[in-house]
Each structure stands twice: as C-alpha cells, then as structure tokens.
C-alpha cells in the first residue's frame, strides 16, 4: 500500500491517475450510456454543441451524436493503446533477452534487425503495413507494435547483459538448466522493471499513432475513432471547427494523463531506489 | 600573528529525507594568516563539512549556526577602504582543491580555458592575457608541455596531472587562503607525496594560508604547522604539529597515530621460512 502512497506524492501523478480513471470510465460506460451504433444518425446535421441537451456536443456532418462518438472513440484509443504497447513490450522483451543472453552471432543479427526497424520511420512502416494487409483493429495494433518494439528490446538487452554475469545465473547453469529456460525463467523477470518503465511512453505513442492512422483513413472503418472524427471535421473546418477540435482535446488530455501517470510511477520507484 | 579566520561554535546539520544529521557540533578555532593548518579526521568526522562551510559551499539545505569571522587584507590599490570587514570572494580570496581530480574539471572544456576563465573572472583579464597566465600557472605546478596541456582535455591527463591543473585553477586569481579538501586521497602514494610537495612550495612562494584536510595524519604532519583533530563533528585536539605527533593529549589522537604504519615500524610478521 505504501507504494501506492508514494505514487500519489506529486500532484502530477494524481492528475494523471484521475484523467486515466475518467478515460477508462468513458470507455467502459460507452455501450451503457450510448447503446446502439454510435455511427447511426441521431439528429439534424451540424448541430452546434450546448444547444440541445439530448445532443450535448452537437452533431457532425452526417448528423451523428458527437458525444456518443467521443465516448466510443475512447474505447478504440484505449484498446489500441494498451494492446499495441503490450505487444511491443512482449516482442521487445523476448528479442532483447534472446540477444543479450545468447550473445555472439545471434546477438549481432538480432541487433541489426533492430537497427533496421529503427531506421525506417515507424509511422511509415505502420502506414505500409496497414495499407497492404488491410485496415482492421488487429492490424492497426500489429502495425504500431512493429515500430514500437525496438525501444524495449534495447533496454531489455542492456539489462540482460548485466544480469547474466550474476551469481544466480551461473548457479542455474551449474544445475544444468537449459539455456532457454534460464533466459526466460531467471533472467527475463529480473530484466523487466526498466522495460516496463517505458510502458507509459509507448502507450502514449500508440494512442497518437492510431489517431494519425485513423486521420489518414487507415483506421478500422467499423469503429469510431477520434482521429477519424478529426478527419471528418476537416471538411467543415470553416463552419464547424468544434467537430475537429473536441476529439483533439480528448486526445491531448488522454495522452497527457498517460504521461503524468507514467511520471508518477517513475517518481515513486525512483524515491524507493534512493532510500535503499 | 593576526587571525585571518575565526570560527566560533560552528554547527552544521544536513537534511536527508526529512531527517536531520548533525555534521559539526560546535567547532571553534582560529586560523592565523600565513599559517598551515591541517584538519585531521576519519570519515564522518565533519572535516570536509568544515572546509565547505569556511568556503561557503555548503548546499542550501544545510542548516548553519555559529560564526565565521574573516579579517581579510584590504585590496592593494583599492580606491576605497571598506568600512566594514568584507566577506571573502570564492576564487579571489579562497582557492579550493577537491578530492577527486577527475570530477572537479569540466570534461568538455579544454584545460587552458578552465584555468583562464578563473583569471578572467577575477582579474579582469582579456582572453589572451588570461591564457598567458594559465600557461605560467601550468609551469608553476610543474606540468610538462604547457602549450600542449593548454589545449588538452581532462580525460587525456592522469589523476596526478589533473590535480595539478585543479591546483593551478584554484590559485589562478592569487587567493590568500588555499583549502585542500582531501586533495591527495584519490591519488597513488607516490603521486600524493609529489602533490604535497607542490602545495608546500606554492604556499610558501605566494605566502598563502593553507587549510589541509586529510584523514592521513602522517601526511599532514609533513606539511602543517598546526594540527586540528576532529571526531564525530567535534574538535578533539588542537596544537603544534610536533606536540601532537610526539605527545598527543587525547586518546583518539593516539589511536590515529598508532594506526599509521611507518617504514620504520617493527615488522608485524616474522617472515622466516614463510612465503606470502
């Protein structure tokens, strides 16, 4: 429990946690508060916000309820953000551990592959991947993970390189444990903390990348996305700018919340390190 | 002999994670102008704290009580006589040499520049004159190839050479007081003796007052007129060097002397037939 208290030390962490809680609530409550298809027509087109209380944020170009779209969009952003980050962390941790533990040629090859993935701009890679395979939620998650795994991989490898010299690893070798088993049962769990420290940054980047992909029309067409909403609002930018501005504000607040919460976690663990 | 510096009842406490740790618990002593005073103690004795307090380099979070009174000579050629005793200016009146030569120099700035900037700041010299002065100083501290050294960077020098540079920078503006805080502790034994010799020469040449802080009472004895012994933040003994070494009055001083093994001490082990 003290760890939680440490996390809440800074006002930034509290703000971040609050924002994230709000976001999760929005995502979970969406089908309850706004049942039915959010992309269905709910009223007259281009109704301004704060005029009709059944349509608090107004309607878009086709008459869809903006508030409903906002809530449902939260689901997509959250789902993609978390899934892509989890995938990137998993792939990165595995690759990094293999490279760091095996050493030699395997390490060289894996590191060159990592270099290659870092050399190609991750957004272009995601663009190409979604364009070729086809836009759906799973593909978008995979596309983002393809660009994001390199960071965790390098961190994991660096950790493993220092861990593998330690006594308990030598001990496991003496017992006769298979190297792969040692790598994934002894070494990887201890290499995880710095890798997990990257998670908030990766989640934030994933949310932003998903928004950009949706903005360019590469999001899942069956789902409401904030990026898609912004793209739609672009056509009526002069007359109804709020259609593009509102989902953007939602994005900023969400990503900000992720960053702040992430920094709060880092602060909490950093304090612990300095005390010990 | 006029007292340059009067310390009365000096108390210093550090705040660490909410807890106050007392480093000095009421130390009083006087330093005469032109004398060489050694301050001896083990780790935790507060000797470095005393040095930093005298120089005014304690961190802002430190709590200081007591008095430090200065009687500085008026500036030669000053247009006005100060109406009240002035406070010492770091670099100009006090030169400070730190323990670790590797970390007291900026790694990305050339040696010459680091010495020259001190001369520029306090003596109002232009860069060209400041560099000339730096070269003279490098010669005074017996560094070979002063021209090359001016352009060199800290990582290209050995520990002893770096410490000579640090000393040169400390005396660049011609201070009246030189504080050497464990200036030899991070160096090899032979280099230690060289640096002590150098300090003795420079102090004599410039008529500086010397505060030599060390844990090595024997080393200090080769250099100092008087020795002050600190233990757990308190002044335990203070006297002429000869008297302290030959007839220590306090038990702690005796134990410090006993712990020192000189080459003229009787061998502890009889090596007849035994091979190490």
């Amino acid at each position: 429990m003290s760890r939680l208290r440490r996390f809440f030390r800074t006002p930034e962490a509290i703000a971040g946690a609050l924002i994230l809680a709000l976001l999760v609530a929005m995502a979970l409550a969406a089908p309850l508060l706004f049942p039915g298809d959010p992309q269905a027509i709910a009223g007259p087109a281009l109704r301004p916000p704060f005029q009709d209380w059944s349509l608090p944020l107004g309607t878009d170009r086709l008459g869809r309820d903006v508030l409903a779209e906002l809530f449902h969009g939260a689901r997509t952003s959250l789902a993609v953000g978390l899934a892509a980050a989890a995938a990137a962390l998993l792939i990165g941790a595995v690759v990094g551990t293999l490279a760091g533990f095996a050493g030699g040629l395997i390490d060289e090859v894996l590191m060159r592959i990592t270099d290659a993935f870092q050399t190609v701009p991750s957004f272009l890679l995601a663009l190409a991947f979604v364009s070729i395979v086809g836009p759906s939620l799973g593909v978008v998650v995979a596309a983002i993970a393809l660009g994001a795994w390199t960071g965790p991989a390098r961190v994991a490898r660096a950790e493993v390189l220092s861990i593998r010299e330690r006594d308990y690893v030598a001990g496991a070798r003496v017992i006769g444990m298979h190297p792969l088993e040692i790598a994934f049962r002894e070494v990887l769990p201890n290499a995880l903390p710095p890798v997990l420290a990257l998670s908030s940054v990766i989640v934030a980047a994933a949310i932003l990348t998903e928004a950009a992909l949706s903005f360019l029309g590469l999001g899942d067409p069956n789902r409401v996305t904030w990026g898609g909403m912004i793209a739609e609002g672009r056509t009526v930018l002069r007359t109804a700018p709020f259609l593009s501005i509102v989902p953007g504000v939602a994005l900023v607040l969400t990503v900000l919340g992720v960053y702040l919460a992430g920094e709060g976690v880092v602060e909490g663990t950093a304090v612990r390190r300095s005390l010990s | 002999m006029t007292a340059l510096l009067s310390i009365r009842g000096l108390r210093v406490a550090y705040r660490r994670d909410g807890v106050e740790v007392a480093a000095l618990k009421g130390v009083s002593l006087e330093v005469d102008a032109g004398e060489r005073l050694a301050i001896i103690g083990e780790s935790g004795s507060g000797k470095s704290t005393l040095a930093l307090a005298v120089a005014g380099l304690l961190p802002g979070s430190a709590r200081i009580a007591g008095e430090i009174e200065w009687r500085l000579p008026a500036d030669a050629g000053a247009r006005r006589q100060p109406s009240h005793p002035r406070a010492p200016i770091l670099g100009r009146d006090i030169g400070f040499v730190f323990q670790d030569p590797s970390s007291s120099l900026d790694p990305v700035m050339s040696i010459g520049k680091q010495i020259a900037e001190v001369a520029r700041t306090h003596l109002g010299l232009g860069w060209r004159d400041a560099y000339a002065r730096a070269k003279t100083l490098l010669e005074r501290v017996r560094l070979p190839n002063p021209d090359a050294t001016l352009r060199a960077y800290p990582h290209q020098l050995s520990g002893g050479q770096k410490q000579r540079v640090a000393i040169a920078a400390a005396i660049a503006a011609g201070p009246g007081l030189l504080i050497a805080d464990e200036a030899t502790s991070a160096l090899d034994t032979i280099v230690q003796a060289e640096i002590v010799t150098l300090i003795r020469q420079l102090v004599a040449e410039d008529g500086m007052t010397l505060l030599f802080i060390s844990h090595d009472i024997a080393l200090a004895a080769t250099l100092a007129d008087r020795i002050a012994v600190l233990r757990h933040g308190e002044l335990v003994e203070l006297g002429e060097t000869r008297q302290i070494i030959e007839t220590p009055r306090h038990a702690y001083t005796s134990s410090l002397l006993d712990a020192y093994l000189g080459l003229d001490a009787a061998p502890l082990l009889d090596h007849q037939g035994a091979r190490a």
Binding site: L125, A128, A212, G248 | G91, S103, P107, V108, V118, A170
Partner: protein, 328 residues
C-alpha cells in the same frame, strides 16, 4: 581527423547491413501485397488473360521468389526503384521531385524545435524547481501530448481562417509566376504554419531533455568546483552546465529524424505540401505499394545519412569520443 575516419569506416559497414535488411523486408512486404504490378497495371489500362501472362513474363514476375529478389536488388543497385502505379512514372523521378520540399520542411522544423527547445530548456533548467521550471515542464508535457495533425488544423483555423494572416496550404501561391527573392519569400510564408506544427511537437522533447540534462549536470562535481572558483552563475549555466547537457540532445537529433519523417506525412497532408510525406499518403490512397516501398527505402537512407552526420557532429563536440582508438 583520424577520429572521424574511424567513425566513418565503422558506420559504413554497419549501415550497409541495416540497409540490406530494410531492402529484404521491403521486398517481403511487396510480395505480401495482394496482387502485383501487373494486376495494378491492368486495372488502369485493361487487358485480357493473354496480355497479363505476357506482361508477367516481360516484367519477370513469373519467376521464382529468389530470382525476383535478385532482380530487385540489381535494380536498386542501379538506383531504379521501379514504376509507380498511380503516376505511371519512374518512382525515382517522383521521389527526387518531392524530396527537397520535405528536406526544407524537416530542416526548418528541426531548427525550430532544437533551437527554441534547448533555449527554453536552459531557461527552465537554470533555476531547477522554480516557477518557470515547473510551468515549462508541465507545458511541454502538454505540448508533447498534442497530435501533430490536430495542431496543424488548429493553426489553420486560427491563423489562416480566422485571422487570415497566413495561407491555408500549399507550398507557394499557384500560378503567381514569382521568381527569385519574392518566390523565396512566398514559399517561406507558406511554410510558416507547417514548420510550426511539425516543430512545436518535437520542441517539447528537446525542452524536456535539456531540462533533465541540466538537472543532471548541476549535480556533477565540476559544477561545485566551478562555483568554488568563483565563476559567475551565468557563465556556469551557459559555458559549463548547458554545454554538457547539450550532448545527449545532439544524439537525439539523429534519433528524431526518423520520427520527424513520419510526422511529416500527416503535416504535409494537412497543409497540402507537395513533399515526400504527402506522396506516401497519396501512395496509400492509390494502393501504390511499389511507390510506398520506394519512399520507405528513401527514408531509411535519409535516416542513416542524418544519423551519420549527427554522429560526426557529436564527435566534434565531445572530445572524449573515439579518443582511445585515435591515440592507439
């Protein structure tokens, strides 16, 4: 000079490997795309089964995968990136046309983000914990959370639509026939908003890095030693602390180039700037996989070159780099 040569040699070998992996990866992606160049060609031009087979044979698409890979590599060696489906022109030509615009955009945005970002970072880091430090810290975090394309739209709404100070998009006024200095000025005006949008996002990054770097540098012992030598606070901040904190930022410049290329895709789309990024979006819209992969390859080369230049700059700034090898 020897330090630089050692770096060059080492980098060159590594980069070739990386490029090879990128090329093979691109080839695999090309293969994974449904339909091939002939299918795309037929869609726009029409033809029967016999024609399809003829074209397949002519273009070597009926051969084994390995042979096709070899052909692909051979073509690349001659800097032949193939033919674009949507534009029916050599890809190399199109890319070279669009490349300078993107380079200008990226270069200006980098200058803005790095210059202004580090300056503000120094300003914040000069007094850690002060009000301006915390303000800039939170502010930069909020800025970093802003999606680039959304910032672009907001800037358009405010400056182009409402205030009408700046043009909405494009790189220059169409058919104005301007030349020389007035043309440069025209392009510059058009670039203000896109450069701002692209630059402000990454400004936050450099600001935070500089701030963190300054906080780290303040803790270094040589800062205490500098104070002990009586140097003015201003000199310590600028000549010592900032100079040391700058080094990791220079490394970041190289790493950021890849991200900024990605960012230019959306920015160029929003502002209708005819650069490489916009070309990528057009390639996606037109399902022009060869063009898209050509852009990816070009980007990879660009990133490698930029990283290399940055490393050279870093070696110049940090006298400790390569020292052990150069003196050997």
């Amino acid at each position: 000079m020897t330090r630089a040569l050692i770096l060059i040699r080492r980098r060159l070998v590594g980069s070739i490997f990386v490029l090879l992996i990128v090329i093979i990866g691109s080839f695999l992606l090309l293969e994974a795309a449904p339909g091939d160049a002939v299918d795309a060609y037929i869609v726009s031009t029409g033809g029967d089964a016999g024609m399809i087979e003829l074209l397949r044979h002519r273009w070597g698409l009926d051969q084994s995968e390995l042979t096709r890979l070899a052909n692909y590599l051979w073509a690349l060696l001659h800097l032949d990136l193939g033919q674009s489906v949507t534009f029916s022109r050599p890809i190399r030509e199109i890319i070279l046309e669009r490349l300078p615009t993107t380079l200008i955009l990226m270069g200006s945005a980098t200058a803005l983000s790095f210059g202004l970002g580090s300056a503000l970072g120094i300003y914040a880091g000069a007094r850690p914990g002060s009000f301006r430090d915390r303000f800039l810290s939170i502010g930069s975090l909020a800025l970093y959370a802003v999606p680039g394309f959304w910032l672009g739209l907001v800037l358009i709404v405010v400056f182009a639509v409402d205030l009408r100070w700046l043009p909405i998009g494009g790189i220059e006024s169409i058919a104005s026939g301007k030349t020389g200095l007035s043309r440069v000025a025209d392009i510059a005006i058009h670039l203000v908003l896109p450069v701002s949008a692209l630059g402000f996002i990454y400004l936050a990054l450099y600001l935070r890095m500089m701030r963190a770097g300054m906080a780290e540098a303040w803790r270094q012992d040589f800062v205490l030693a500098a104070r002990a030598r009586g140097l003015s606070r201003r000199r310590i901040v600028l000549a010592h602390v900032a100079r040391n904190a700058l080094l990791p930022l220079v490394t970041m410049l190289g790493l950021q180039s890849a991200q900024m290329l990605g960012g230019s895709v959306v920015i160029e789309s929003v502002f209708a700037v005819p650069g490489l990024g916009r070309l990528a979006q057009e390639a996606v819209a037109g399902r022009d996989t060869p063009l898209l992969l050509g852009i990816i390859l070009t980007s990879a080369v660009l990133v490698i070159v930029i990283n290399f230049l940055v490393d050279l700059a870093y070696a110049f700034l940090d006298p400790r780099v390569g020292a052990s090898e150069a003196t050997a």
